[in-house]
């Protein structure tokens, strides 16, 4: 199978995010970048469907530094990488989808994989948008994926249950936690990754009609209140819960 995984570079989930002076973007000066954790499911899944004569291609849109995250995917076992290089990644998922889709048109893949969402913007949009532009079927939030011949069988989690569906190839999925257990790249894999092909293609972003107006943090939690100690405090605690917190 020829598999393509669309990968996103995101801030490490442990990073303390700061908003820059414009108030509409994050300040990326001290940010540690990683492969989007949901994309690790996508890479791992693609590798299991590659087969002996297939390949796994990593496609990413981002600044030049994104080669580091592509190399991580190559170290996990992918065969080659393509970076669609821009100065700054777009915040409009439609722009991302359009650029990815135009590169994907040339790749003649069987299977297309995305993480179900980027842990940075949480749009959950790029995968379905790309499939729509390419006019191929895609199912999202997949937790089990099997391919037989030219048909894919997909299991998804729905509210309170499971849903099983079929799609013809070529098709796409967005991967959800539970699909597989991503493995760390092996150390020999890291050494081999250096020699694998990684193409950098500068691209122009199409116009966007989306504007981020403001970014803000949630308000600070109000401080706790100690109403007393031991059994003597119970009446006051009940009063506060009833009258102030209004939870009883």
């Amino acid at each position: 199978m020829k598999c393509v995984v669309c990968l996103k570079r995101v801030p490490d989930t442990g990073t303390r995010i700061k908003i820059d002076s414009s108030g509409t973007a994050i300040d990326d000066t001290d940010v540690e970048w990683i492969v989007n954790p949901y994309d690790e499911f996508a890479i791992t899944e693609a590798l299991t469907h590659r087969g002996s004569d297939g390949e796994v291609i990593i496609l990413a849109l981002g600044p030049e530094e994104t080669t580091k995250e592509i190399r991580t995917a190559l170290a996990m076992g992918a065969d080659q990488g393509i970076l669609l290089q821009v100065q700054r990644p777009p915040t409009d998922p439609l722009q991302t989808a359009q650029v990815l889709a135009s590169a994907l048109k040339e790749l003649e893949f069987d299977l297309l994989f995305f993480g179900c969402r980027g842990v940075d913007d949480d749009n959950c949009a790029v995968g379905p948008m790309v499939a729509s532009i390419l006019d191929i079927p895609l199912l999202s939030d997949v937790i089990q994926f099997d391919v037989e011949g030219s048909k894919a069988t997909v299991q998804r989690e729905t509210e309170g249950g499971h849903e099983i569906g079929n799609m013809p190839l070529p098709c796409g999925i967005t991967t959800q936690k539970g699909l597989n257990e991503p493995k760390l790249p092996s150390l020999p894999g890291i050494m081999k990754a250096k020699k694998k092909p990684l193409e950098i293609r500068p691209v122009e972003l199409p116009d966007s009609s989306l504007e981020i107006v403001e970014m803000s943090f949630p308000p600070d939690r109000p401080p706790g209140k100690i109403v007393g100690e031991g059994a003597d405090a119970v009446p006051e605690l009940i009063r506060v819960l009833q009258e102030e917190a209004k939870v009883l």
């Binding site: 442990g14 580091k68 190399r71 991580t72 170290a75 493995k183 760390l184 790249p185 092996s186 150390l187 020999p188 894999g189 890291i190 050494m191 990754a193 250096k194």
Partner: protein, 389 residues
């Protein structure tokens, strides 16, 4: 718990290659995800986390710096970073990796026959076969030249007799590299397989240190092995010492990891622990301790990186390894003790890591050439006079 933040005051990251950083980050994640969640239980029980061995093999951690035979073939700095990251979790696990790679696989790789290499190295790299190294004896630690274990040729066999002490991986090992003196008085290395009649491994109990490591005494009593089990190129004690040089190099790096773990823990704690109405990190006495530890870690990092680059060029000297092992373990132990102090009463609980590192490092301070023996090695280079002869 917040993710570990490593100290890098001198932007040493910038001196590493992209692959070296990736290898470090991968092993760091392995340590966080797999070792740290189970290390307290194994320390309490006094057991080696054996379930991690296949995964360490799959990652390529075992014999990672050796070429061929399914080994990862990494450079010395990448190898050192592996040791650093494993020891950031626990010195006992790092000891396992050191002994498997530097003391068991390395002598087979460098001094073994082609058959021995083919038979042992690939399964050892995968973690399917475990090795140990028997040089030290109950009465011969710092002075291995006096060792009493004897090997006698008898037709197509060697017959080994003697006792080996403080053998890491001793009861687990499928293959032991045993150093013995032949009737001609030559030191040679022998491969003794688990289950050979006359070989017994007795677990050493009651350790306060390296509790998550398997430590044993090996007893060899008329232990008969095939003649071809001698490591052909080992003729003299210097071949055993070459193995120790490999291991000591890794220990110098490993100590940085243990110190970093303690520092990270104490720094966080000092910023959160309120006394006299403010975090203890705001007191000058605590600040001085943190500054001292951070400075010593930085010096250790620079020492190791230079040592690794020398090893890469093939220019490394044994006394340089002694400088690094001696300095880095001394300061890691000092850092662990100081961090335990910063943690106050909480520091004696196994909920925190610093005291476990402190107890582990007491062993690391002594094994693989004691702190004092390394001073004598360095001073022998400086003066031309060997104080231990």
């Amino acid at each position: 718990m917040d993710p570990f933040e490593s100290l890098d005051l001198f932007d040493i990251d910038a001196l590493l290659t992209e692959e070296e950083r990736m290898i470090r980050d991968t092993v760091r994640q392995f340590a966080s995800d797999k070792i740290l969640p189970c290390i307290r239980e194994h320390t309490r029980e006094g057991t080696l986390p054996r379930h991690l061995i296949p995964e360490m093999g799959e990652l390529g951690l075992l014999g990672a710096n050796l070429e061929g035979y399914d080994c990862a073939g990494l450079g010395p700095v990448a190898y050192g970073l592996i040791m650093q990251e494993i020891e950031r979790a626990d010195s006992g696990l790092r000891s396992f990796v050191s002994v498997q790679g530097a003391l068991a696989m390395y002598p087979i790789h460098d001094f073994g026959s082609e058959e021995q290499k083919q038979k042992w190295l690939p399964p050892m790299a995968r973690g399917e076969k475990i090795g140990c190294f028997g040089l030290t004896e109950p009465d011969f630690g710092s002075n291995p030249a006096g060792l009493r274990t004897r090997a006698r040729k008898d037709g197509d066999s060697w017959i080994l007799n003697g006792n080996k002490m403080w053998i890491t991986n001793g009861t687990t090992a499928d293959i032991a590299v045993i150093w013995a003196r032949t009737e001609e008085g030559v030191f040679r290395g022998f491969l003794v397989e688990k289950g050979t009649p006359g070989l017994e491994a007795i677990e050493i109990r009651g350790k306060y240190s390296l509790r998550a490591s398997d430590t044993a005494e090996l007893v060899l009593e008329d232990c008969r092995i095939p003649a071809e089990n001698v490591l052909p190129k080992t003729e003299g004690l210097k071949y055993a010492l070459k193995c120790l040089n490999q291991a000591r190099y890794g220990i110098a790096w490993g100590a940085i990891g243990a110190a970093q773990a303690c520092f990270d823990e104490a720094l966080r704690y000092s910023k959160e622990r309120i006394q006299f109405g403010k975090p203890i990190a705001s007191f000058q006495l605590v600040q001085q301790k943190l500054a001292h530890i951070a400075t010593e870690i930085t010096k250790s990092q620079l020492l190791c990186l230079r040592l690794g680059r020398l090893k890469e060029k093939g220019d490394i000297r044994h006394y340089q390894i002694s400088v690094a092992k001696r300095n880095n373990v001394f300061h890691a132990l000092e850092a662990a003790r100081t961090c335990r102090d910063i943690l106050g009463g909480n520091g004696i609980l196994d909920e925190y890591h610093s005291m476990r590192h402190m107890m582990n490092l007491e062993t690391v301070f002594t094994y693989e050439g004691t702190h004092d023996i390394h001073a004598l090695i360095i001073a022998e280079h400086l003066t031309g006079i060997a104080a231990y002869e």
